[in-house]
């Protein structure tokens, strides 16, 4: 039987994503029309100046950990549901992350969907990541995410 998620799951999760992301002052957060693809389009600014460096965030949440698979302190998403979600973003031309929140604790987790990669010959690519493991999300990890994206754009502009 198909069940509908309660109204507060999406609203609270999106607000949490904004709270996490706006702890930095170099991100401009845009919300496209609801149900039209990604939940957030983020622009990275440099010294307050618009750079055109875009990345996407898709937000999902659950109200408690009992809805998640957990192996050795690592949360995993349902692979079947995940693959349907991931396919929607496969062809996007910029990095995309999944943010996942457990609403009973407000703790955030993340995984890359399209991960920015620079290979040995300094060629840039976006790795379509089908891994189902979630990493803990905090200010340091968000800094790492932004740093990876900036580095990817730096190399892309130099090739």
């Amino acid at each position: 039987m198909k069940t509908t998620a309660p109204w507060y799951i999406e609203r609270r999760a999106e607000s949490l994503a904004i709270v996490y992301l706006t702890r930095r002052d170099d991100l401009i957060i845009s919300q496209p029309t609801p149900n039209q693809g990604l939940d957030f389009l983020i622009t990275i600014t440099k010294d307050g100046v618009y750079t055109g460096r875009l990345f996407g965030i898709e937000v999902k949440a659950t109200d408690s950990t009992s809805n998640l698979k957990k192996h050795n302190d690592i949360f995993k998403l349902d692979k079947n549901r995940l693959s349907i979600l991931l396919e929607n973003f496969k062809d996007l031309p910029f990095p995309v992350c999944l943010f996942f929140f457990i609403l009973e604790t407000d703790q955030g987790y993340y995984k890359w969907i399209l991960e920015p990669k620079i290979d040995g010959e300094k060629q840039v690519k976006l790795h379509f990541n089908e891994d189902d493991e979630l990493k803990k999300l905090d200010d340091k990890e968000i800094a790492n995410i932004i740093s990876s994206i900036n580095s990817w754009y730096d190399h892309r502009n130099n090739t």
Binding site: W7, Y8, R11, R12, T22, I29
Partner: protein, 161 residues
């Protein structure tokens, strides 16, 4: 486009108001009204009030200026015009101050107050579980005095009975 500080304050407000009170979830349902409303940022509905849906209005002010040294009040400015505008609605109305650095919020009533501008906001009523429950009861009590279905309208559809 909303400025980043305002966007952050609205998100913090939503997170504070939708904190879970039980397995049934939050007791408030806030809806951002967009930038075009002059005095109101949110309409907030009470969850679980029965057949009716009581609500209140909120204006959110966000600051990174911190607190006054003397009385530990949050440094937010609200112009007199905004206080009067907010208080003119025939419904419970509140001003919420958000300290965006600490990610906490404080609420004060804009009903029946002395209609002056504010240069700082009381931190007596932090948005925490206990005050959310008091607020829920206050708004529910306000609306329970009205029998909202008793309007005799000129626009009644006679076949819709």
């Amino acid at each position: 486009m909303r400025d980043a500080l305002g966007q952050r304050g609205e998100a913090i407000f939503t997170v504070l108001m939708t904190e879970f009170h039980s397995h049934a979830g939050p007791i408030f349902k806030p809806q951002f009204l967009g930038d075009k409303w002059q005095y109101i940022d949110f309409i907030v509905e009470l969850v679980g009030a029965g057949k009716s849906v009581p609500y209140f209005f909120v204006q959110v002010k966000t600051t990174r200026e911190g607190y006054t040294k003397k009385h530990n009040r949050l440094k937010v400015k609200v112009r007199q015009e905004n206080v009067i505008g907010l208080a003119s609605y025939p419904a419970p109305t509140y001003i919420v101050g958000i300290d965006e650095i600490q990610e906490v919020g404080y609420m004060v009533s804009a009903n029946g107050e002395s209609l002056k501008s504010l240069s700082s906001l009381s931190t007596q009523f932090q948005i925490i579980r206990q005050n959310r429950e008091l607020l829920w009861q206050e708004v529910d009590d306000f609306w329970s005095r009205y029998h909202t279905n008793q309007l005799v309208s000129k626009f009644a559809d006679q076949d819709w009975r």
